[in-house]
């Protein structure tokens, strides 16, 4: 076949295939995916520990486990970590590993840019958390509302770590989004038209568009904030004529699409799992695609529903209320299609399926409380109470985390070559489901009874004690469920490889190659005739033969490179230097050094042979 082997002089990849250096210089999307996954999981555990300390503090009334100051840092870093360092990069792990595999490609379109994204992400995540060691963990909330973040009200370095860290992470997100966007547009296997792409690829595709269009806005808002803090401007400072509300607008113009950046990959994962374990193609494929597009598009027109309490006037309230309610329609389409997919199917109750079904149930609860918020009068009652906390944990934890966990059980055998234990997986699921609901369901009640968010304690006698105690018990159960997962993962990794290429009888291309895939993914670029290529083949052949590992001689792969890391360090130093922006301190020397390193990295990168 013409597509099989590209006539190239064999480039030698005999360099290092294992060891630390091979990971530092890797441009293999699978390895970068694993790096994303490992880093993000550690950050996720850190965010979980932060949450658990919060729950311990709130377990009883008038508790003094942590100081109010430290409590502020805990809830700020819990939110920041879970969103930017947990859910987003866990999704990025799946983007990296499975977008190329699902579209039948040998790598992403710009492998070195992919490595750059990862390194920038890692350095940004470490930067935000580095504040901890200087007693300056960010402490103004993950939303960083002005003018609490001004130099006057947040004099320490806490907010600087947050601002600069998010800027660094934003660069990683934009670079990655360009990469995956072009990958999906241009690297599809022959025959894979847009409407034959797996649903995970579709939802990821929409996510990249959201990333591209939403992140520039937060970048600008963060620049303004940085200037306010260090360079004497008054963008958000009323004393100089600035308007703190502008921060909220810019933040939520980014922030609402960001919500869909967090949930759309989860929609994609669930839309992969449900058909496979129902032995039925996805119900309403085209409707699923267009509802996703519609959700993303509307996502840019609803941001002010986060701001009803700022008093925008009846016209704006009515507009944003209606546009928000409208989003319930495509979301409902998705939920009915998932139910339609499992309806009448031959259900296989494996762990991934448990999590996917748990996702649907939990997400519906979170979605319903979201519709409640879309009404300004109801929202005014609920703003800044635990009701809101309950809502977004049902969509982000009950939604995203359940789906990502299901995705892990579904795809880890492909990534590691080892099956996870089913019994432990189901214990994980039930503990997580019970713990999750014990933790977050009572928050609805507490919120409606008036318990405010972001306050480090509450007095006795308001009727908050019982529910808070129950929530902490639930949080402990969640912790246990994660321990079960970690043990399951470690035990499976210590075993020899035992995963077949296609343990679940999957429908998409990643199951047509050995687990874990070889470096070049596909010995021959596959041809695709529908959105379920492997089921087509299975119907044709009766059963699928186990694919053999083959020699990749002659298959052309990109060279490893450390310049992406050099460029990432340049970005890190450039922006990190601003942390030292004090009068009479030559901080710009640090920043200019960073710029020099960045340029050196980019130029060497541009002129080295890509392979």
């Amino acid at each position: 076949m013409a597509t099989s082997v590209l006539e190239h002089s064999a480039v030698h990849h005999a360099e290092a295939k294992s060891g630390l250096w091979s990971w530092i210089t890797t441009v293999d999307h699978k390895r970068i995916g694993i790096l994303y996954g490992a880093s993000a999981f550690l950050f996720f555990l850190l965010g979980g520990i932060e949450a658990f300390v919060i729950r311990l503090q709130l377990m009883t009334a008038d508790n003094t486990l942590v100081s109010p100051e430290f409590y502020n840092q805990l809830f700020t870093m819990h939110g920041t970590t879970m969103i930017f360092l947990g859910v987003m990069p866990l999704s990025a792990m799946f983007f990296n590993y499975f977008i190329p595999l699902q579209i039948g490609a040998r790598d992403v379109v710009f492998p070195r840019l992919n490595a750059f994204s990862y390194w920038v992400f890692l350095l940004g995540g470490l930067f935000i958390n580095a504040g901890f060691f200087f007693n300056a963990w960010p402490n103004a909330g993950w939303f960083g509302y002005a003018n609490l973040t001004s130099a006057q009200y947040s004099p320490g370095l806490n907010t600087d770590f947050w601002v600069i860290g998010l800027q660094i992470l934003g660069i990683a997100s934009i670079a990655a989004a360009v990469n995956f966007f072009v990958t999906i547009i241009n690297m599809r296997a022959p025959g894979m038209t847009l409407l034959r792409m797996p649903m995970f690829v579709w939802m990821s595709f929409i996510t990249q568009i959201l990333l591209l269009l939403a992140f520039p806005v937060i970048t600008v808002a963060l620049v303004f904030l940085m200037m306010d803090r260090h360079f004497g401007t008054h963008f958000f400072i009323p004393a100089g004529g600035g308007d703190p509300i502008l921060w909220q607008h810019l933040f939520w113009i980014f922030g609402h699409p960001e919500v869909y950046i967090l949930i759309l990959p989860a929609f994609g994962i669930v839309s992969e799992i449900l058909p496979v374990f129902s032995r039925k193609p996805l119900f309403g494929y085209t409707a699923m695609v267009f509802s996703g597009v519609f959700i993303a598009f509307l996502g840019f027109g609803v941001w002010s529903h986060h701001m009803f309490a700022t008093g925008m006037g009846p016209f704006a309230d009515a507009f944003f209320s209606l546009s928000t309610m409208l989003i319930a329609v495509p979301t409902g389409v998705k939920i009915f299609n998932w139910i339609g997919t499992i309806w009448g199917g031959s259900l296989q109750f494996k762990t991934p399926m448990y999590f996917a079904l748990g996702f649907i149930a939990m997400f519906i609860i979170g979605g319903l409380s979201g519709v409640m918020h879309s009404s300004p009068p109801a929202d005014l009652q609920q703003t800044d109470t635990y009701f809101v906390v309950a809502h977004f944990h049902y969509v982000l934890f009950g939604g995203s985390i359940f789906a990502l966990t299901g995705g892990a059980y579904y795809w880890l055998p492909k990534m590691t070559g080892r099956m996870l234990n089913e019994t432990a997986g189901k214990i994980h699921f039930w503990l997580m489901l019970i713990g999750f609901n014990l933790t977050f369901a009572p928050m609805h009640i507490l919120g409606l009874n008036g318990m405010p968010r972001r306050v480090y304690t509450y007095p006795a006698g308001l009727g908050f004690e019982f529910w808070n105690g129950l929530e902490t018990v639930g949080a402990a159960i969640i912790v246990v469920s994660q321990l079960v997962f970690i043990v399951n993962l470690i035990v499976s990794l210590r075993r020899p490889r035992n995963a077949p290429a296609d343990p679940w009888h999957g429908a998409t291309l990643e199951w047509s190659i050995p687990s874990p895939p070889q470096e070049f993914n596909f010995p021959e670029v596959p041809e695709v005739k529908s959105s379920i290529p492997l089921w087509d083949l299975r119907r044709e052949l009766g059963s699928l033969p186990e694919p053999q590992r083959v020699s990749g001689a002659g298959i052309h792969l990109p060279n490893p490179s450390y310049y992406p890391l050099v460029a990432a360090i340049g970005v890190f130093v450039t922006l990190g230097g601003i942390l030292f922006a004090q009068p009479h301190f030559p901080w710009y020397v640090i920043t200019l050094t960073g710029v020099a390193v960045l340029f050196y990295g980019v130029y060497r990168w541009a002129f080295e042979p890509a392979g």
Binding site: V182, L212, P216, M227, D243
Partner: protein
């Protein structure tokens, strides 16, 4: 010539479009939102400065340690010159690209040099303008107008600077004969970015300088 040969060199893409060109367009799309945020902020804060100086109108401002009456700061003729030069540089770079695609080395080098010169002129104009404003008592944090103006035009200027660096690199390569027609895309990508920077200025010029 050989489509086949070309395809052997670059794996075919699903859309038939070049990967890097799709990427630069996606990035340009992303940049639209970046400048939209800056322009929105400029407009939202228009007329809300608490002290002078102001763009066009006379106002009270702090100069040499005391409040005094000062004139509007904008020098429209100067900026019009810069605008015209930037517009012409867009014209020059398409001519350079045309030369690169046709293998006309003279045309490529000549017009690309002209483009870089125009870019440098524009950056110089902006440096002069900023310094001039500063001496008129308009620091970065003086008022909302100065902050939003310097941030918006400053980010645009840094994009111009980046474009000058990119185009200069390509000029350097072209001068050493490393930009044959089949590599003209290298210039096309930089040119697209350059045009984008130009269209942003096409918006900024009337919105910031000409609307009162």
């Amino acid at each position: 010539m050989s489509d086949a040969a070309a395809h052997a060199m670059h794996p075919p893409t699903s859309t038939g479009l070049d990967n890097r060109k799709v990427a630069i367009w996606a990035f340009i799309g992303s940049e639209c939102l970046f400048f939209a945020s800056l322009i929105s902020t400029y407009l939202v804060y228009k007329g809300k400065s608490l002290v002078g100086p102001l763009p066009h109108e006379a106002s009270q401002c702090m100069l040499h340690g005391q409040m005094q009456r000062c004139e509007g700061v904008f020098e429209v003729p100067l900026v019009t010159a810069g605008t015209a030069v930037l517009l012409f540089s867009s014209f020059f770079v398409v001519l350079a690209l045309y030369g690169a695609q046709k293998g006309n080395r003279k045309m490529l080098l000549g017009w690309l040099s002209a483009t870089v010169a125009c870019g440098l002129f524009f950056v110089g104009m902006q440096v002069y303008e900023f310094t001039h404003f500063y001496h008129k008592g308009m620091g970065y944090g003086t008022n909302l107008f100065s902050s939003t103006f310097f941030t918006l035009t400053g980010f645009h200027g840094s994009h111009v600077t980046l474009g000058v660096i990119w185009l200069s690199t390509i000029l350097f390569l072209a001068a050493r004969g490393k930009l044959p027609p089949e590599k003209a895309l290298n210039l096309e990508l930089a040119a697209l970015y350059w045009h984008f920077v130009d269209v942003v200025w096409i918006v900024i010029f009337p919105v910031v300088y000409l609307m009162r």
